[in-house]
Symmetry: C2
Subunit: 549 residues, 2 copies
């Protein structure tokens, strides 16, 4: 592996640990817990892992007497910066407990457990990956661990390797499944513990006990770097409107955090769109109005941040997509006979008036995408819609109309960007490097203390790492019942942007000014070696949330 | 202006100067020069500024006795990291010579000179912009200074402000025009000097005396950062082929430099495509073959770097576009009558067989773009073609064909990226911060020494800044005659990628290995505060070129 100069220098970084994890560790149990909702149902589904106490680690002078333990680790789902540090923290924790302990990595996600594909992660391997981005040390995958058959196949290899515990690094769904697996192995008395770790750049796995998911910090800072660069360009050339879509399957945390870091002219927050029942036309009109207002001041340039999941948060679009899915499923044969040039009119003639009007208002490319490009289940593939182009095209149309009516004088030249893969595997910021290492280290302590069905938890994250609080949270505590594919299921509650939360309110209080004035901030690239105010700050989201609490 | 933590910390950075510019400066004249070609014609066109000697600055103990001087500065063309440092170097240089000297910035490019729009750049303003990216201190623009009328309008305001010299910061065309202006003012005895500075992220303004243009270093490092991040993602998820287009209007220096920094599976170099007379189908076949070879090893992922200017370097595409432009210009009325669904077949029926076959092979969207989306002069807008999508679509079609023939077994899922605006206004790397500051500082010394028609020149750039060689190069030295819009014009020779140069040869020697193996390098973000091997290295292009020399 040819390494860059930064990678070589960065390999020497020793992540900071909370005081409680620096020497011998004692687990202190707190109060018993209950799930955030639907307590009775969840208790019934998790008789062995429900209601367990919170765990908090404390430094102790007493010797620990844990024998060597073998542990398995899995990376599940999309990449997030810091995954390698969770694994190196876990490795170092296991070795601290007993040098004969071993860490096995299952390859390419949960599928590696089921298919018995794994490697032993030795110190040589671990050292190659400390403080690096990516999940390439063992790869990741999207296989869902849900079925007993998978659990049993997994148990075969865990037993064979003498593995005491499995650590699953994943998002809300993967941690839900980790808990189901923990419950299953506990019920069967297999003697295998399961521990989760909160990973996702989307930032939507958080709650009272999990202050943030790892990777959110680095990914947002990487996006904010390039957004800032684009804004500096925008403010120098003064002739383009940049429409910038940001990854984040569902929640708008990333867009909001980037807005707080860069102060764009416009940032759309999906959760607000839904709460206010805004239509696509409302959104387009709002953007066009800002464009027109700025043009009136001679500023024919600006920036718009767009969360990837927007379309599915527009209530009217959701209704249109639902009717389209139903209609096309029921009339596939007839639709297939319709001449291509006539498809659009055909669909408009068949939809209810409200949906027909929205469909008719969509640019041709998007309308075609909605009616033609369908997934194997016959559903619209909303994620393929280039929302940034859809919006800029509709804004352009609206402005052209206003120009005719004499309401707008200006030039509108859009540019489009989509950032996602640019940040998911960035080398972790100091924050994520430390946080992830501590998460992995705490996971080893949870295992040593016999815990299962817990998520590794590090809190008090806006304080220096020394003062961070390490422990574990029963995963059932974060669960409620939700309808998934027509069935009620126990799942970890997804944390969407709260409109009464400090991050959104801070944004909302300033956005009118940002729209009018050019108040861009240029964060620049993540720094690893400079002054602490440059290198060690957590996200604005976290700072604002903690300020509040 | 709200400033980011990095911006605040970075403002304190004191750019390094070459030894010769640290105290009192003496200008030493070298040999007389001549243009790189067409000496007689160029001498005739530039009687006052042709053949001047090279100038080299040396440190001296002798006092300088230059009176206070007023200077104007213009940012011309596309943004490049470091422009603000050229201006702050120029400012500090003027003030060193005499504290009463003044610097005026003409606003929004050369148009500001003609329209008499300017501000005085005071130390308060300058201090806000030291070591920052962007051109927003005075804005930039693309007005070309070519006409006597413009020169005279400019002279009015220069005279009014008592400006002794004008510094034009721009690319090859802007520096050509700077020289034309220098010649004009010299011929008229107006007493206004004109000095150029070599700016462009494209890296194509370089020659024997100008080792690199500023901004190339920072822009390439910013692109290499995100390319590296994408590659780490690519190597973790192992399921996508990323097609990454990189800005660079004409030359492929950026793509090549990024390839040297990141070691992608494929990098296309336009100059090679032209030299080998490769067709679009050749390029597609080459990519598809690499995809198939990697798939045979179980690797259904990879990265392809594509220079923005590619299409215009494919000889067969150039011929097709030329015929299309001519045909559609001559038959606009008839074409307008053709039914939309029939346009493609109509065009195919009218072109010569060779061009018809190429046109027929293009994906529908691109074919439509070639025939419909035309600029005000009726020409195809090649820059609007999404080459990254064009290539991936054609590669996908070829692979589907090979799959039918049993020659390919694998999955091909492409992702697309275009990086340009992400890097043009990044905060300058230490290299660009120092280089630009020195360029501006040297410009002030050229002015103090009465020079005109010179480009500021800093050489020996792979050595520590202390040992850099500062001076000036007569712009006519870089010129030759080229056909532009049907007329022979004196222009600075554009530096394309040399296929016998060390950067390309280094790339060519390794690319087969990079295609087969996964040899990705992850450069990470630009660092400003760390160890020198991380923070202070020039581009690989420059290092390899200097090694050779």
């Amino acid at each position: 592996m040819t390494k860059s100069a930064l990678q070589i220098a960065r390999a020497a970084y020793q992540p900071k640990l909370p005081k409680a994890l620096k020497g011998n560790v004692k687990a202190v149990s707190g109060e018993a817990t209950q799930s955030v909702a639907d307590q009775e149902e969840i208790k019934k589904l998790f008789p062995n892992t429900y209601g367990m106490p919170l765990v908090r680690f404390e430094a102790t002078a007493e010797p620990e007497t844990c024998p060597a333990m073998n542990v398995g680790v899995i990376l599940s789902g999309g990449q997030a910066p810091g995954g390698h540090n969770v694994i190196s923290g876990l490795f170092d924790g296991i070795k601290r407990i007993h040098p004969d302990g071993k860490l096995y990595g299952f390859l390419m996600g949960p599928g590696g457990l089921v298919d018995h594909k794994y490697i032993e992660l030795t110190s040589d391997i671990i050292d190659e990956y400390r403080n690096t981005g990516g999940f390439d040390i063992i790869g990741s995958g999207r296989t869902k661990l849900e079925k007993e058959e998978q659990f049993e196949k997994g148990y075969e290899i865990l037993k064979e390797l003498g593995i005491k515990a499995l650590v699953i690094i994943g998002g809300d769904d993967s941690n839900t499944n980790a808990c189901v697996l923990a419950e299953y192995y506990a019920a069967k008395n297999y003697g295998v513990q399961v521990i989760g770790c909160p990973k996702t750049i989307d930032g939507d796995l958080k709650n009272e006990m999990i202050e943030t998911s790892f990777g959110f910090d680095t990914a947002c800072k990487t996006y904010a770097e390039v957004i800032g660069n684009i804004q500096r360009d925008c403010n120098s050339a003064r002739k383009y409107w940049h429409f910038i879509k940001l990854m984040g399957r569902s929640a708008s945390h990333i867009a909001l955090e980037c807005a707080l870091q860069t102060q764009p002219n416009i940032c759309i927050v999906s959760e607000e769109v839904e709460a206010k029942d805004l239509s696509l036309d409302d959104i387009v009109t709002n953007i066009a109005q800002t464009v027109a207002d700025r043009a009136a001041q001679g500023n024919n340039f600006g920036t718009v941040l767009i969360p990837e999941g927007l379309i599915e948060f527009i209530p009217a679009m959701k209704r249109l997509i639902a009717e389209l899915n139903d209609f096309l499923a029921a009339n596939a044969d007839e639709f297939a006979q319709v001449d291509k040039a006539e498809q659009r009119n055909y669909i408009i003639s068949k939809l209810t008036p409200e949906n027909a009007a929205i469909y008719a208002s969509l640019p041709e490319g998007v309308a075609r995408q909605l009616s033609l490009d369908r997934d194997p289940h016959g559903n619209v593939q909303v994620s393929l819609i280039e929302t940034e182009k859809l919006l800029s095209e509709m804004v352009g149309n609206k402005l052209a109309q206003w120009k005719k009516e004499g309401k707008y004088v200006g030039k509108f030249a859009p540019q489009h960007h989509f950032f996602g893969y640019e940040g998911r595997c960035a080398a972790p910021s100091n924050f994520d490097a430390d946080y992830c290492y501590a998460l992995g280290y705490a996971a080893s302590a949870l295992i040593a203390n016999g815990k299962t069905g817990y998520m590794s938890s590090i809190r008090n994250l806006t304080a220096p790492a020394e003062e961070w609080i390490a422990g574990g949270v029963p995963i059932t505590m974060m669960m409620n019942m939700e309808r998934r594919h027509g069935e009620m299921k126990p799942v970890i509650q997804k944390a969407l942007v709260k409109l009464d939360g400090a991050p959104f309110k801070t944004f909302a209080a300033q956005r009118e000014q940002w729209a009018k004035e050019t108040a861009y901030v240029y964060p620049g690239p993540i720094q690893y070696f400079g002054p602490t105010e440059v290198c060690d700050q957590p996200t604005k989201t976290l700072q604002l949330e903690q300020q509040k609490g």
